[in-house]
Every structure is written in structure tokens, then in C-alpha cells.
Symmetry: D2
Subunit: 335 residues, 4 copies
């Protein structure tokens, strides 16, 4: 059994990690660390884990050793935390934004403050199995990309060489992406039914997309009515016809266990929709062509394939287990 | 022009009062008081009032005199506030819970603390035009009932004499009823799609229903997915047949401008549904009979007929204006 | 491997059966029958099953033999269908309403037409493992109760002997309960955000509750904003105090794998809420006491514990497999 | 009083026209024509009009003369209907898609069939007061643009001369835009919570935007969870800085009664969101700049400013009444 611990375990990504890890047959969860709720039962904060676990949150100071340590801690906090906890685990998988961008100047441009551990930035392998499977198999430091970045990267990678460098990404997201701390902006009465353009230009995740696709990505982001779910609609230009593009997607993802191509001629579900993916580790990708315009679309559950699920998939790869272990839930319909 | 002021103007009921009063042809809003946002533009907090007003929030200490003062301040705060501001206005219309129950012992039983101004309790006329129109025409102190209480009172009053004393009320409400202050419970990701029984027994409003209907009311309350809207389903017993009951409703509400009887044989909209009433001052009431069981149903917008709209209706009655003035919006469909 | 077939496989209950059965390690799905879509891929109708199965819908005439046959066919259709297909399978598990009420007179009273196979009514064992586990282990004909009936039965059974005979049940349901066929009533623009009292009195499921609890149950039902999920709030009277009632629930459900007692003092999730249960086979039950009034509450996913999940639980019992096999998904939070 | 009639009065746009026209002080509704429901009360189909009107739907053959005739009839039907009813009214205001594109070849390219009344195409003035106020004052044939087209036109017009010709428009819409007829795609269980890219490329409204802005517009469209509401996010390129762009919007819309500029530095409501606009005739427009990228955003209620409200605004202009008459509802918050 792989011994794992989760820091930031009371947040939404932390809770999703616990759901997946508790249900994982090859893993033992030795600690769930929360600075807010040490001593409280995990299922008092994550009520879906009632009858699944008797685990109690630990204080951060009590962190013990483990094989794999997951960091679901906030941006900014994580880069000061990591050096302190690095020695506790063989492998650290970070879900925060702090180690996603290897260039500290780019980090500062997008996060608005200097990085405090720039020497570590280059050591992280991106938690994208579809791109870095071999590296992940031996990585000790893994950084899972942002949820919208993962969606856009998987939507766009098959188009490399087929489209021009400029791509405009329109991302939409549910409310769970803004976390479990209440604030004026995520009050139900304000957020319900909203179409809130919270990043009309320069969403942070565009830097990750540019880096991992080689494109020049621009991203806007809008909060829409949903709790879970991210969808990206990417606008690119190129001369390839639909058949060529379809073939590129098929070849690219032929052997991927968690990427499905969804690009049908008709039907309500002919293109990727995150509604179907709640709880699932799939990222559905699709496309459409109109002359020289190519629209690439991807959908995923921001807390699973966009976070905790990708992290568990990385753990499986790193520890030599079957890549899909513990990630079998296919999603619901209708829902 | 009637000169009015609103205290607690940054809350949801306060904002709804401002919407109605700014659009009211017989009223001038002289002040909108907020302890949280003095000096800020009203439309920065209530964005639906952009281009409707240039009003700026006043501090509580700057309250001036006016003809009618609306209190949309919190429970507990209001009973200490009222004696201080009483002299500023000819008429005070209170929307809080503090002056709804004339018996201080009942107040303490339901609110969990002693009343600090018990000598004023008996001076308030309930803000229910359907029951107290004549009293309201000369009242200087008016207390608008709770939103669920108003719905249940209007659903049940026509049944007086036709049903036994015990009535079980099942109330459902949108999230705006819990106010504009963010907390763990009204975070969008937690509240969205919920069916949250927040008062499985003894909801406070049952005391108001018992008082104003003469019945022995018990009320449970559940938060369901909606921002606005309250619905009550009331279970009573009696021997009257459907025809008798329909006649009772018709006679009771024949001349009421804001009560509609909705009790059809079929169709998706055959019984009251608050979805249709957002922004409207209607309370729709309906019923069904099965042997000795009578189900009475009512729906309203908790911020309008369940609060600000009822208050404006009272103002109209008190100041001798047409009762429906400023309250003409009929609601939308679909919505 | 147990060989199973599903009739009515294109509906929502049929799709949920397929999701659970395809993921079940002890079962092989040999046929998915649909009269509407014979020859079409299953995943073209149930998009969550993409990459889970290559199954194609069969025509009804092509039904082959199997060990267990699930009927997810409509009310009225099923009672004429059953005699024709009975011989095809060792065990038939029916999810329709047609074999839930053993007395044909009661059936006619609630369904409005005479039963066409009254001689079979007595042969069915109700698909409620919590009540009929031993009978189910050898039953050849099983009838799964209505979703709201199951919730109410599980909420009320521990109160037998502690409450008076009359119980008023207030049921709330998501839209998936009305099936996959489009109609004016379930159009999104009409149904979204609704609080639609579609059964103000005498919902059919009350007859099942009365039968299986020994109480005199009355049920109203309201459609609220949700796709999945049923909640019942049951009003009873009795003299037992809270401690006695809590003990009754604990004793009753101590060994049940799919019933959790959720009755905490505080917190947003202190009572059962179906929001947490989408995709899960749990039925959460809780209660509150106020003097002689007892409120019992239950929540479940109408397509899982209220239908397909209960049916698979029955299959596990009938075929001697572990009762929880294939039913491990715990539900999500937030969602 | 202006005498008006509505054809297609049982649909969602027809119902919204009736709501606005019945509440309009300068108008008398003489007929509401429906081919589906002749003889039925209008409020049996549009329940928000209960107690507002006793009008009964007329059959199409019974259409009488009137001053202004509104056509809220379906695409394709309307181009054959118009020649037959043209003589019944001094002015016809069409809300369908059939007379929006003056070039029959463009019509055929986007609608997939030849136009049957091409000789009339050039006679229509677009129902966009912000662009054609003077023409509308004397127009006898008026064609109201598509809801997403209106939003995009109002978002982009101030940028004329400041941005390059290519603009990518990402439109999101609620479910009411697909009309009142039930189908598989707009079933609540399927449509609820969806992010459905129903037009990944070449949405029809792009042709209207190109025509009325002089830009080369491409539009994708996604259905998101909402009943009412359209939002467009438009991506353009140019060298103007934010100050220049803000001044362009201000100058362009300084005197417009129904366009508000919403482009604040912070806050949940700093950019246009249709959630606030349900029932209102406002179109809110905003923008953001990042280097050479300019994002222009607009939001409106598709049934009001995107349809019936724009039509009433045109009626006011055409008949010499105050332009805002009957259109005063400002929208709700929260909602």
C-alpha cells in the first residue's frame, strides 16, 4: 500500500483528493491536514465521506512521513510551505498555482508578486499524463496545471502544426473553482444563474497553455451556473479540413484512458459538456471547422481531471500502479 | 410627495424597498442609510439601480426627518434602534422580526432572548392589508410579518371555521431570505441545488401564523434552489367539500388587489408557484381537497409581498394613495 | 457471471441500470432492449457511457434468455408485458408501478384503471432490502417501490410503535422522475427553478408507504429545482423524546450498508439532503422532535436507491453476491 | 390609443409582447393571435398575465385591422405570412429571422433555403433604435434583429474605426431562446446545468452583426443554465488604449435610454451580466483591454431588449410616443 497524506484537506480539492484516495485500492491515507479544522472529523466538513472514513484532520505541525504528499493548499502559501515539508515524502504532488510556471518572471507577471522559491521551479514535472507520462513515472515533484489550462491544453495539442500561433480561449467555470471560503462574490444569491466575466482578459491559466502548447494563448474566463465543471472554447485559424483535424485528434488520443473525442454531427450531447462529467476523470474534447476557422472544445470536472483526479492519475503512474486505478466513475446522465 | 427614508438600505430587503420607492410616483426617497457603506453610491451595491438613482448611502447618525421611515435592519438590532429613531418620522414601517409578536414571552420563546422594548410591542399594526386595512390607514407603527408567515396567513385565513385548529405548514424558500452577508451556509457551491431543512420543527414564523389565523400552526422550513420565492403547503383537516372551500377563497379575496386564486384542474401552472412572482407583489393562493384533508398553498416573492412590497402597500394605505401605486409589475414568464 | 438484460433501457432508469450493471464486477449485460431505438448504440442515448460499452439496443422481439431481467418499462405497459417475458429469466426485477400494490382494488384506486394481471400481484416481493432481505434472497419476482415511497418507508419504519397512525408526508423531487420523454411540463424554461405542487393530495406512493409501514400515510409532492434527488419530510405525532427516537433509528439501521443516520445539531448538512447523494445508493435518514411532533426526513437519488440502485442491491442479494457490489460510489461534495 | 395586434402570441416572445403592451399606457391590444390555442384565455398560457387581462386568443383567420401588427411567428412561416397580412396594419414589426438580412443569397446561406419574398427584404428597417432612430420614426416595416445580434452590435459599434475587421464573438444564452415547444434538447433534465455548444461555428446571427457593424464577425453560441439572458464576449484587436475606448463608449451611448456602460475596476457586478436584466429593456455594455486585445461584452434579456422590448421601443418611436413608455422595469437584484 502506498502511504499518502493530503495538506489543505478541508478545501474542495482536498476533499476530492480524499474521496478518490479513500476509494483507491492501492493507497492508504495516513493523514489529512487542515489548519482550520484540526481535531474535527473529516466527514463533518466533507459530508459525502460519511460512512467512508473515520479520519480526523491533523494539524500542520503534526505532518508525518509518507510516500506521496498532496498539496491542496492555497496559492502563495504553497511556495513557502513546500521547502518545509519537502523531506516528509518521496514524491510531492502540488495542486496549487505556485509551481506551474518555470520562469519566475512569468510567474510574477501573472500572480503579481515575486516567487519565493524560484530555485525549485524547474524541478517540477507538469501533471499532464497525456504529455509527460514518461517523466511522471520518475518525477519526485509534480505540479498539476490549472483546471482551465488542462482543458485547453488537451483541446489544443492535437492541432499543433495545423493552426496558426494565436488562439483565443473562452473558458467557463462553475463556482467550486473559487474554493470553500465564503465571500461576497460567491454568495448563492449573487452567484446563482450568473454569467460573470471575472477575467475579461489575461486569465492566469493562459500562461500555462502557451507554455505547454507552444501557441500564443489568450484566455477570458466566465463563471456560469454550475458548481463543478469547466469548458473551454478555443478559436484558432488554419487550413486543415475537418477530416484532417479529426484524424489528428484520433491519433493523438488513441491510447489515452481519460480523453474521449466527442464531435458528432447532431444531438444535444454532440460536443463536450462538463455537466456529464461531474465526479469523472474524463476530459472530453471536440472540434468544428468553418473555412479557415477551427473551434476546439474541451470539458472536464475542475475538481477531478482539473485537479484531484489528475493528481491521482499521476500518483498511479509514479508508483507503477494501473493508471486508471481508483478513477473508474464514469459520470452520470441525466444530472 | 411623501418623503421617505430607508435604514438597512444595503441589505436585500433594503435594496428592494429602494427599487420600489424610486419607481413610485408619489414618493421621494430622501435617505438610504447603511452602517456598512456610508458614502458609497447605492447602485454600487444594488446594481439593478444603475441609471435609476444617484443616491449615496448615508451614515446612521445622519438620519434626518421624514414622513415614513422604513426599517430593514436586522432582528435584535431593530428593537434597540427603534426608540432612538422613532421621533424622526410620522410613521415607521418595520420589516424585522422584532415587533411582530405582541407577547414578549412568545417573542423570547421563539427568538431566544428577552425583548428590550416590550412596552412598544402592542403599538404595532401588522402589515397585512388583507386583514388590517382600516387599522393601517391610521397606524403610526407598522410591522410587516415574516415572508413565510404572510404566505401562510393568506393561504389559511379563508379556511377559518372550515378546518380544525391544528395545521402543519411546510415552507420552502430561496436563498435571498438569509440576507446579503456571506457565510458558510450560503456559499453558492453549498447552497446550489440544495434541499436543506434548516428548520425541521418550530420555525419562528409559526408563532405569527398562529396569532393571526387563530389556528395552532406548526411550521417546518426548507431551503430549495431559488434566489427569490417562498411557497407554503399547509395541511389541515375539515369536512367542507371543494365547492365550499373554493367559494370561501373567492369571497375572501374578491376585492383584494394582490391576492389571486390559482387552483386549476390541470396544467403545469395550476397551483401557486413563486417562480412566476419574482418582482411582483402578488400572493397566489390555491387549495386541494381529499376527503377530510385540505391542502392550502400560497406563493410569493419573499422580498416583495413577503417584505418590501407589503411595506409599500402599507405606505400607500397609510398615506391615502392608491393601494397599488408603484406595485404594478406582474412578474415574468418564462423565467 | 450473472447474465442480465434490461427492458426499457433507453429511459432514465434504464440508463442508470446500465451504468451500474456495466460497472458491476459480477454481472454481464447481455441485452439492452429499447422499443424506441433498436439498433442504435447505447452511448448515443446515454452519453455518460461513452467508452464504457459498445452495446447496441435490441428490439423487444429479440429478447433472449438471461438470469435476471430488469423491467424499466412504463406503468400500464409493464403489467401486459410481464406475462410475455416471464419465462425468459429466472428472476424478474420490476421498477415500474404495476406490481407494487398487492390489492388490485387499491391499484385501481390510485392508478385509475383495472389491473390486467391481478393473479400475479401477490407473487412479488418488495425491493426493500432493509425490510425483506431474507425474502429477496429467494424471490423470483421483485418489485422495487416508488422513489418517494422508499424514502418515506425508510424514514418512518424506525418510528413504528412510537408514533400515532396518521402521518403527513411532504415529498420533493427533481425532474428526472418524470422520465426522458419531452412534454410541456418538463420543458426547461417551464420547469427550471419551479416549486410545482404536482400532487397536492393523494400521491400514488402514499399507498405503498401505508402498506409497508402500517401507518395511515398521506403524501403531497412538489417538483423543485434539481434533476436527481428526492426528499421526504414526514410529520407524525408521539410522546417519545429525542433520545428514544435516536436510539430507535440507530438500532434499526445499525447493520444496514446503505442507510445513514444524519441528524446533527448544527451545520449546513445536519439533515438529509439529496444534493449529496447523486449517483450514490445511500438513503440518508434524520429526524427532529418538538413536543409531541416528530419530523422524520429522508433523502436519496431517485434513480439509484429510489430505483436502479435498489434493483441492483436486490440482484446482489438474490444471486448471493456481496450486497454492496457495484454500488460503491459515495456521492460528491460540493456538487 | 394605438391599436395593436400580436401574431404568434402563444410563444415566449408573443407572451413578452403581451406583457409589455398590456402594461403600456398608450396602447390597446386588440388581438392576440395563436394558431395553437384559438379560443383559450391568454392567461392560461402566460400565467404571469393572470389578473392583467381577459384577452382570449384569436384564430389567424380572424385577424382584424390595427395600427401596428407584431409578428412573433416562426422563421420560414413568417416570410409566407407577411404578404397575406401586410394590408391589415399601417406598421408591421417582425421579430422572426426572415427579414433581417437584405441579401437573399446571404439569407439562403445562413438559413439553408431560398427566401420566398425577396422583393420585400429591402423594405425593412432594422429594429435597432441606437442605429436607426430616424428611419424607425417613419418605417412601415421593421425587423427586430436576433437577440445575440443586438447584443453584439451594441457591444461593437463604438469600436468602429478602433479595431481590426475580424471579430470573434462568443455568445451564451438561456433556454427561452429555443421557444415554447418541447423537444428532446430542451427537456429540463437534459438542459439543466448544461454548457451546450449548439453552434460551434457560424451562428446565424453573425451575418446580422457583420452587416450592421461593418466588421467580419464570427459567432459561436453556447446554451448555459438560465431561462432568460444573453451575453456576448467579443474578441477584437486594435491599438487604442483603455481611456480612448472608454471615451468612445461614453460618447456613443451618452443619450441612449437603454444602454448602460458597465466596466468597473472591481466587484462581482463590474461587467455586464444578464442575470440582473430579466424583464428589463437595458442592454449593458462593457469592455477590457490587454495590449492589442480588446474584449467587448454585452448582456440583455433575450425576450426584452433582444426581442419584445426592442419591438415596443420601435413602436414608441414610430408612433411618436416617449421612447421609454411601458419599458420602465429596471430588473431585480438579487435574483
Amino acid at each position: 500500500m502506498i502511504r499518502v497524506a493530503v495538506m489543505g484537506a478541508a478545501g474542495y480539492l482536498g476533499g476530492e483528493l480524499l474521496r478518490l484516495l479513500i476509494g483507491h485500492p492501492g493507497v492508504e491515507v495516513v493523514q489529512a491536514v487542515s489548519t482550520r479544522f484540526p481535531g474535527r472529523r473529516v466527514d463533518s466538513v466533507h459530508p459525502n465521506l460519511r460512512a467512508q472514513t473515520d479520519l480526523v484532520f491533523s494539524a500542520a505541525d503534526d505532518l508525518t512521513g509518507c510516500d506521496v504528499l498532496f498539496l491542496a493548499t492555497p496559492h502563495r502559501t504553497t511556495m513557502t510551505l513546500l521547502p518545509k515539508v519537502r523531506a516528509r515524502a518521496g514524491t510531492v504532488i502540488d495542486l496549487s498555482g505556485d509551481f506551474r510556471l518555470p520562469d519566475p518572471a512569468v510567474y510574477e507577471r501573472y500572480y503579481g508578486l515575486p516567487h519565493t522559491a524560484p530555485e525549485l521551479l524547474g524541478a517540477f514535472v507538469p501533471g499532464v499524463p497525456e504529455l509527460f507520462r514518461d517523466d511522471l513515472a520518475k518525477a519526485d515533484l509534480i505540479s498539476v496545471p490549472g483546471c482551465m489550462a488542462t482543458a485547453a491544453i488537451l483541446a489544443l495539442r492535437p492541432l499543433a502544426g495545423l493552426v496558426g500561433p494565436d488562439v483565443q480561449i473562452d473558458a467557463r467555470t462553475g463556482s467550486s473553482g473559487s474554493g470553500a471560503l465564503a465571500g461576497d462574490g460567491n454568495l448563492h444569491a449573487e452567484r446563482s444563474g450568473a454569467m460573470r466575466v471575472f477575467a475579461p482578459v489575461r486569465h492566469r491559466h493562459e500562461a500555462e497553455v502557451s507554455r505547454l502548447t507552444g501557441l500564443n494563448a489568450r484566455m477570458t474566463a466566465t463563471g456560469v451556473e454550475a458548481v463543478r465543471g469547466v469548458q473551454v472554447v478555443c478559436h484558432a485559424t488554419g487550413t486543415a479540413d475537418e477530416r484532417t483535424i479529426r484524424r489528428a485528434y484520433r491519433e493523438h488520443y488513441a491510447d489515452e484512458p481519460f480523453v474521449r473525442i466527442v464531435a458528432h454531427r447532431k444531438g444535444a450531447h454532440r460536443l463536450p459538456d462538463p455537466k456529464l462529467l461531474s465526479g469523472s476523470n474524463y476530459c472530453d474534447v471536440g472540434f468544428a471547422v468553418d473555412g479557415d476557422r477551427i473551434t476546439a472544445i474541451a470539458a472536464l470536472d475542475n475538481l477531478v481531471k482539473g485537479g484531484a483526479g489528475a493528481a491521482v492519475q499521476c500518483l498511479n503512474i509514479r508508483t507503477g500502479q494501473h493508471e486508471t486505478l481508483g478513477l473508474g466513475f464514469p459520470g452520470l446522465h441525466p444530472v
